[in-house]
């Protein structure tokens, strides 16, 4: 039944079919990355292979070289763009998925505490969400990427350990800290709604503990909207991460990340005024990858929004 509704909606709107195909394509590329662009042994597979002059350990970045049989998409400062695009697909998922999960977990924790606690706790936590809302997202993300330390000493009495954060981890943390308030607000209002329901009242009447009512009755019935929201937010998150990466707050050159490649090819665009498209291969391919993934996701999202909306379901 459910499947038939989905299929009918997808058949009725070819755009959502296109979206689904694009998303599926990127998932395949991400999964098959080791086959499509085999990494050499013993090095981090997310670092693009470097093919250029070196003095000892020091890389002398050469100008971009155009596509050739050896490097199908060309190279940027010696790094293979094809490899970067293929493994960049994994990077996109590796950034997007943790961001969504961390933001969701934070939002769930804070929203649930607020919605279940009521009173002063609710008031304080929701003001905290308001404060994060009032902070323009891009600014907060940039401030956090700059301010987060690379090494974090965690000292919880008997438990002590140090966490090292790579530039990419900082990006993930910053994006998650920007994203949680919207989840917190939605889960809170959903909980306030579900708490009024008769079955919650009934569960309390037969003597269920508060924790059991929360976990078994309220949570499962108020999770639905934020799970949808989280799924739909993936495309937006990838776009946000790419923007920050482009501005120079992402991983360093050579890392397989679409926006990092675009960011560094920007320096080469104006170096050839007499031949404007000379170095365009360096940024056009990764741009197309970025655009296609976000486009696919938003096309799919449009269809899913209608399907997952219970009020429209049987129309």
């Amino acid at each position: 039944m459910e499947f038939q509704v989905v299929m009918r909606r997808v058949r009725g709107d070819p755009l959502s079919l296109v979206g689904a195909m694009i998303v599926l394509f990127f998932m395949m590329v991400g999964l098959l990355a080791p086959l499509l662009a085999p990494p050499s042994h013993g090095v981090d597979p997310y670092i693009c292979p470097y093919d250029g002059p070196m003095i000892g350990e020091l890389k002398i970045y050469p100008p971009p070289s155009p596509p050739s049989p050896e490097h199908p998409f060309g190279t940027l400062q010696g790094f293979d763009i094809y490899y970067g695009c293929i493994w960049g697909t994994r990077t996109a998922f590796r950034v997007g998925i943790p961001v969504i999960f961390i933001a969701l977990a934070l939002g769930l924790l804070i929203g649930c505490t607020a919605g279940y606690g009521r009173g002063l706790v609710d008031e304080l936590l929701m003001r905290l969400a308001d404060i994060f809302f009032a902070f323009p997202g891009i600014l907060l993300a940039i401030v956090l990427v700059v301010a987060l330390p690379s090494e974090w000493q965690i000292n919880l009495g008997p438990i002590r350990f140090a966490v090292t954060l790579s530039q990419l981890d900082k990006l993930v943390l910053a994006l998650a800290l920007v994203g949680w308030p919207s989840y917190a607000r939605v889960i809170r209002s959903e909980m306030l709604r579900v708490k009024q329901e008769d079955y919650v009242e009934a569960a309390k009447a037969i003597g269920c503990s508060g924790f059991r009512v929360l976990v078994q009755h309220i949570l499962p019935n108020s999770m639905y909207p934020i799970l949808t929201m989280a799924f739909l937010n993936f495309g937006k998150t990838v776009l946000f991460a790419a923007t920050l990466s482009f501005l120079g707050f992402g991983p360093e050159i050579g890392y397989a990340d679409w926006a990092t490649i675009i960011s560094h090819s920007r320096n080469w665009i104006v170096t050839a005024p007499q031949d404007p498209f000379r170095f365009s291969f360096t940024w056009i391919t990764p741009s197309m990858f970025t655009f296609a993934l976000i486009l696919g996701w938003s096309l799919l999202g449009d269809a899913l929004r209608d399907i997952l909306d219970p009020t429209l379901r049987r129309i």
């Binding site: 009725g12 709107d13 755009l15 003001r127 905290l128 308001d130 404060i131 994060f132 809302f133 009032a134 902070f135 323009p136 997202g137 891009i138 600014l139 907060l140 940039i142 401030v143 956090l144 990427v145 700059v146 301010a147 987060l148 330390p149 495309g235 776009l239 946000f240 790419a242 923007t243 482009f246 501005l247 120079g248 707050f249 926006a259 675009i262 920007r266 665009i269 104006v270 005024p273 404007p276 498209f277 365009s280 940024w283 741009s287 970025t290 655009f291 976000i294 486009l295 996701w297 938003s298 096309l299 449009d302």
Partner: protein, 354 residues
């Protein structure tokens, strides 16, 4: 009268949020050592004294930089309220001066981009929804084209569009250079002997006030591409939201009532328009945020010296004083913006009383 008391009440409610914001902003600087955090307080380069004793330990003592967090925070807040916004080490100037110098370029961009976005997006959304309503769920060709364009506009990263426009219009066609003015005019404007007076900092207006319409025209020409980038993404978002809320309104029972009363289509649509505006206002905060993201990317790509490129510059040079001040500025701007939105709610929806 009721409106004034509402505004006052809203402003009072904004104080705790602003305090919370400043707390978070200040907390992010705690990751830096006290020696660097001194820059949040001094207004001159008094700590760069090559001769004589090192003044920094005394300053750290004076501003309680080794004391507990809350003491540091209150010291800082007091200085900020006094108008001391610290010192930017990457520009070697007081942070306020830098922000004031960079702000007009951003303001100019927004003055041109915001009206186009709002009117264009709203009109397109209403048009698309009307077509969709008339022709069933999927609409006709106008609706289809609008939806395709908005989906593409929404998914195309603004930096990709920026690079594309830069290559086409600057390198291929040679029409426009990056920056706010052509090089000769830029040298004229920035030279102290030229007699150029910067009344507002907005080049389009200053050009007219100085009796130099050619500068106004040149500034306008340089604004075209950045404004296109700023508009594209926001227009797409606004069109989508207007369309979906309009489609939602058009099937509500009051529309049938309006038709049954015998109103012509123009007037029937007007009922729905007003109600759909409410959901557009609800997402105006999101629009503000995407606009700001657009500003940062656009200024970075087109080398416009506005707040956006200032943020990128400050962040890459770890000039956290500038970041703190710009954050404070934009949080205040956003609070004022949401106040205006709330007042607009009361005007549009009679159920909400100020």
């Amino acid at each position: 009268m009721r409106l004034i008391s509402y505004i006052v009440r809203r402003l009072l409610f904004a104080i705790p949020t602003l305090l919370g914001l400043s707390l978070i902003i200040f907390y992010t600087t705690m990751f830096f050592p006290p020696r660097q955090r001194v820059r949040l307080f001094i207004s001159e380069s008094q700590y760069q004294n090559p001769r004589g004793p090192d003044p920094v330990p005394a300053l750290i003592e004076k501003y309680h930089l080794n004391d507990p967090f809350l003491i540091q925070y209150t010291t800082w807040l007091r200085e900020v309220l006094r108008g001391n916004f610290g010192y930017s080490h990457s520009y070697n100037k007081p942070a306020v001066n830098i922000i004031l110098r960079f702000f007009p370029a951003t303001l100019e961009l927004i003055i041109f981009a915001a009206p186009i976005t709002i009117f264009g997006g709203y009109t397109l959304g209403v048009l698309s929804a009307k077509r969709a309503h008339r022709k069933g769920l999927h609409g006709d060709i106008v609706d289809y084209v609008t939806r395709t364009i908005t989906t593409i506009g929404y998914s195309l990263p603004s930096f990709v569009l920026g690079l594309l426009l830069l290559v086409i219009f600057y390198l291929v066609l040679g029409w426009i250079q990056p920056g706010r003015l052509s090089i000769e005019l830029q040298t004229f404007v920035s030279s102290p002997t030229s007699g150029w007076v910067s009344y507002t900092g907005l080049l389009t207006i200053d050009g007219l006030l100085n009796g130099r319409p050619d500068i106004t025209l040149d500034a306008l020409r340089h604004l075209v591409l950045p404004v296109i980038i700023l508009v594209t993404q926001n227009l797409a978002i606004l069109t989508r939201i207007t369309r979906s809320s309009m489609v939602g309104e058009l099937v509500k029972p009051y529309m049938v009532t309006a038709k049954a009363k015998g109103l012509d289509e123009e007037n029937v649509i007007r009922h729905a328009k007003k109600n759909s505006l409410i959901s557009v206002l609800t997402v105006s905060g999101v629009l503000f945020a995407t606009m700001l993201t657009g500003v940062v990317v656009t200024e970075y790509v087109f080398l416009i010296s506005g707040i956006g490129s200032l943020v990128v510059h400050a962040a890459s040079n770890l000039d956290f004083v500038l970041l703190v001040d710009v954050s404070l500025l934009f949080c205040v701007v956003f609070m004022l913006f949401s106040l205006i939105v709330d007042i607009a709610y009361a005007y549009i929806d009679p159920r909400i009383k100020p």
